[in-house]
């Protein structure tokens, strides 16, 4: 999908033109202080058609999807949905902020894990994610990061070493296939 404000409206079920730039979204965002482009500025960039800057920023990958912005927007703009849409468009158009790669890898690994097992196998997730993220970012420390926690987690019975799988995994596979049939985003 080519980025356009209509595309964002469609993906986020909202009207970005309604935004009057009050900034309440940015004021309440728990990660606003870390964002290179504030949520209200992202909405503005969409309004004015400057998609490259909107997709290329780190901010959309820092968003924790808490919905605070949407819940408080005086114009009922689904700001969190706009960020969601920008993430999807960024991946699709391959305009991804370097600092965000890890997040995307994580999400892809997450979905693959479910595609295979039907449920999340956390150990596998952590393992695969760390090796993949390692390959992409070459951030060695990350590889060992939670290994400090891992032994403790096992002693506390917090990890099933084998992980669970659903019985009808074939069906899960078919569901994924159908959802990805029309492209990686699930739509044309």
């Amino acid at each position: 999908m080519r980025p356009s404000s209509e595309a964002v409206d469609m993906l986020a079920h909202t009207h970005v033109t309604d935004c009057y730039q009050c900034g309440k979204c940015s004021a309440g965002c728990p990660v606003g202080e870390r964002m290179d482009v504030l949520p209200n500025q992202l909405v503005r960039l969409v309004q004015s058609g400057n998609f490259r800057r909107a997709m290329d920023c780190e901010a959309i990958w820092l968003c924790v999807s808490c919905q605070t912005c949407s819940a408080r927007c005086p114009k009922s703009v689904n700001c969190a949905g706009v960020l969601d849409a920008l993430r999807q468009l960024a991946v699709e158009n391959n305009v991804i902020n370097a600092a965000a790669r890890r997040t995307i890898v994580f999400q892809q690994v997450f979905l693959n894990n479910i595609r295979r097992n039907g449920r999340l196998n956390e150990l596998e997730l952590v393992g695969v994610f760390k090796s993949k993220a390692f390959l992409k970012d070459a951030s060695v420390p990350l590889l060992f990061k939670d290994s400090l926690l891992a032994p403790k987690m096992i002693t506390r019975g917090k990890f099933h070493l084998m992980g669970e799988k659903v019985k009808d995994r074939a069906l899960v596979g078919r569901i994924f296939e159908r959802c990805f049939a029309e492209g990686p985003r699930g739509h044309k």
Partner: protein, 663 residues
């Protein structure tokens, strides 16, 4: 019928595309037409003289002038006919200029159409009946509802012009919001200093009758002749006996009631005058707070009163007032953002009602007011500390569709600037912060005023909305944003003042229904035309002014009040009102009493009535039009299933004759 038809050339205007001689010729042979002439300028003096001569000599009983639009000259020709003794309603116009000669260039087709248009008019005139203008007497006495600055101004203007005024105020005293304001923008003059003399004028005016602690119960009648029922609520104090000495309220043990006048920032006794300059300066007993009225115990005030003015047995009274015009001036209230109210949603994120030091603009007015609960010293409600950092937040509840209120309240940008100045003038080492979206200061000296707040008094303005207010160790933490620098920001404040939305006073919808006037989706009363009839309503004789019509500041409220008063005086300048007689009438014999018309009439001009015989026994029920109220829209005619209503001037016969003439 002897009808004269006069076709005008309008110089070249009509004659260029319509063959006027041919038209006159064609019309001459129509049934009922006595004479048909054409002439260069019908509306000119010689033209009118010719028509009058023809009426006289030809003994004409009907007249058709084929010329311009009736909106242009129908009145002219009706006057001319009247001067000759012909009933003006026997005159019709055929619009052969705007609707024909000016829009069709094919001379033959235009001429044919002109003939058709005149034939329709002739057909109509044949069915016309002489009508007499309806005359209604005018009661030269006005009622003003609401005693804020707008109501006060309107009442004084009308009374000073020599007419009697009945002023109905819901609260125990007149004065409205202005009585509680501190100093007023853009001049910073003391609100009470300029208002109290006006209030005293009202109290002492020989032609103003004041009903305080009263509300309008019912409105009947029509322009010039309203009958208004007023409910005088039980006050428990006979204000004719009371001299306002204060012995009662000084001794009342129930001292902990929140003062309405101070917007809950101060306390009052159960028997109280709302504020020292109240008019009338007579107390009232709060029936929800007085232990005598609640439990039959106490009665101290009655014992202290040497004039025997206290009456615990007092009851509500209903009074009827006859008036010729009504001015609604019921003002506004600030929205309560602490809770959801119908379509309006609360602002949980700002903690109003939860944090004592988050207050609204009117509460701040009381804190800075010299007559306020803190004596004009700025102290915050929670602990009486002087706030060193105050955050003012604009557009709270206004311009917020998600909370149910999309409009701009118009005055808050100004009073916020005022508040920052008053604060700085009293707390020199304090800092005022303002969060705003846009600054709307479009009045004389307004922009300059706001700039002064920023440039001279150092208020810090941040462009952006606030998302959340939290509290930590008695400090309010305000999380906002400055979108101009693109940074979220947090300010620690001792006090937060919210510029909350201005909304119409409670109960205004039900009052509007009684007055049969419109109101918008937010409850503000509707003017008849936003530009050309800004204080009139669609009901003749009912005017609006002040903040009940839309958010307004004092200058605008007062200007509107004087405008409404002028409209009332225009009405009272005449002894009788004449109204167009083109009103509906019910054929009571055939009326099936279904009362569809009663429900359909936009002016509530039709009543249900009984027809009785001489013994008073019911013969039948019927609908009956009140010609004083009917505006002649014709809705009832179209609605009536038994064809029992007709509209003079546009009767079934007239309209059908016109259509039939088109064959």
């Amino acid at each position: 019928m002897r009808i004269g038809v006069f076709t005008c050339w309008c110089g070249e205007n009509i004659a260029r595309h319509v063959d006027c001689q041919k038209v006159a010729e064609a019309i001459r042979n129509l049934l009922g037409v006595h004479c048909s002439v054409d002439y260069k300028y019908m509306c000119s003096d010689p033209g009118q003289s010719m028509i009058r001569e023809q009426i006289r000599n030809g003994k004409l009983t009907g007249l058709v002038v084929a010329a311009c639009s009736p909106h242009m000259h129908l009145k002219t020709f009706r006057k001319a006919a009247e001067a000759e003794g012909l009933n003006p309603y026997m005159v019709e116009m055929a619009n052969v200029r705007e609707h024909c000669a000016w829009v069709h260039h094919d001379r033959e087709a235009a001429t044919a159409k002109a003939i058709d248009i005149i034939r329709m008019a002739v057909a109509k005139v044949q069915q016309n009946r002489p009508l007499a203008a309806i005359r209604v007497p005018v009661t030269k006495r006005a009622m003003v509802i609401g005693g804020g600055v707008a109501g006060i101004q309107a009442a004084l203007d009308i009374a000073d012009a020599g007419f009697e005024v009945v002023l109905v105020e819901r609260d125990p005293s007149i004065g409205g919001k202005m009585a509680g304001l501190s100093e007023t923008f853009p001049t910073l003059d003391c609100s009470q200093c300029i208002l109290t003399p006006r209030m005293v004028d009202v109290g002492q005016h020989p032609r103003i009758k004041l009903h305080t602690y009263s509300e309008v119960e019912a409105v009947n009648g029509y322009v010039g002749n309203f009958k208004v029922t007023v409910r005088k609520k039980a006050r428990y104090v006979d204000i004719t006996k009371c001299n306002g000495c204060g012995d009662c309220w000084n001794k009342c043990p129930q001292k902990k009631n929140l003062s309405e006048f101070d917007f809950g920032m101060g306390k009052r006794t159960a028997i109280y005058v709302p504020f020292p300059q109240a008019v009338p300066a007579r107390p009232v007993i709060d029936r929800e707070a007085c232990t005598m009225l609640l439990k039959g115990k106490c009665g101290i005030c009655a014992k202290k009163c040497t004039r025997g003015a206290i009456n615990f047995e007092d009851q509500d009274q209903l009074i009827t007032e006859d008036v010729g015009a009504i001015v609604a001036a019921t003002g506004y209230k600030l929205c309560d953002i602490g809770k959801d109210e119908g379509r309006y949603k609360g602002y949980g994120e700002y903690g109003f009602g939860r944090y004592a030091d988050v207050i609204d603009g009117l509460q701040f007015e009381r804190i800075v007011s010299a007559s306020g609960p803190t004596g004009g010293e700025i102290k915050r409600p929670s602990d009486g500390k002087t706030p060193k950092s105050v955050v003012f937040i604009c557009c709270v509840g206004s311009r917020d569709d998600a909370k149910g209120c999309g409009y701009c309240s118009k005055i808050c940008c100004m009073y916020v600037a005022k508040h920052t100045m008053l604060y700085k003038h009293k707390v020199h080492d304090g800092q005022a912060h303002v969060f705003y979206m846009d600054i709307r200061a479009g009045g004389k000296n307004y922009e300059e005023f706001v700039r002064r707040a920023i440039e001279q008094d150092g208020a810090e303005y941040h462009r952006g909305r606030v998302s959340r207010i939290t509290e930590h160790n008695g400090q309010l933490i305000v999380r906002g944003v400055d979108t101009l620098v693109g940074e979220a920001m947090t300010i620690e404040a001792d006090l937060v003042v919210l510029a909350t939305a201005m909304r119409p006073a409670d109960g205004v919808e039900s009052l509007a229904q009684k007055l049969n006037i419109g109101y918008d989706e937010y409850g503000f009363l509707s003017e008849s035309h936003p530009k050309l009839r800004p204080v009139e309503t669609n009901t003749a004789g009912v005017l609006v002014c002040g903040a009940c019509q839309a958010p307004k500041d004092i200058p605008e409220s007062v200007a509107q009040a004087s405008a409404a008063a002028a409209k009332v005086m225009m009405l009272f300048a005449r002894d009788e009102l004449t109204r167009e007689p083109e009103v509906a009438e019910v054929n009571e014999q055939t009326c099936a009493a279904c009362f569809s018309c009663v429900r359909g009439c936009p002016y509530k001009a039709i009543d249900e009535a009984d027809i009785t015989d001489r013994q008073g026994r019911l013969i039948k029920r019927t609908a009956r039009v009140n010609p004083g109220l009917c505006m002649g829209c014709g809705t009832c005619v179209a609605i009536c299933p038994s064809k029992s209503v007709d509209l003079a001037g546009f009767t079934e016969q007239q309209v059908y004759a016109m259509v039939e003439s088109l064959v």
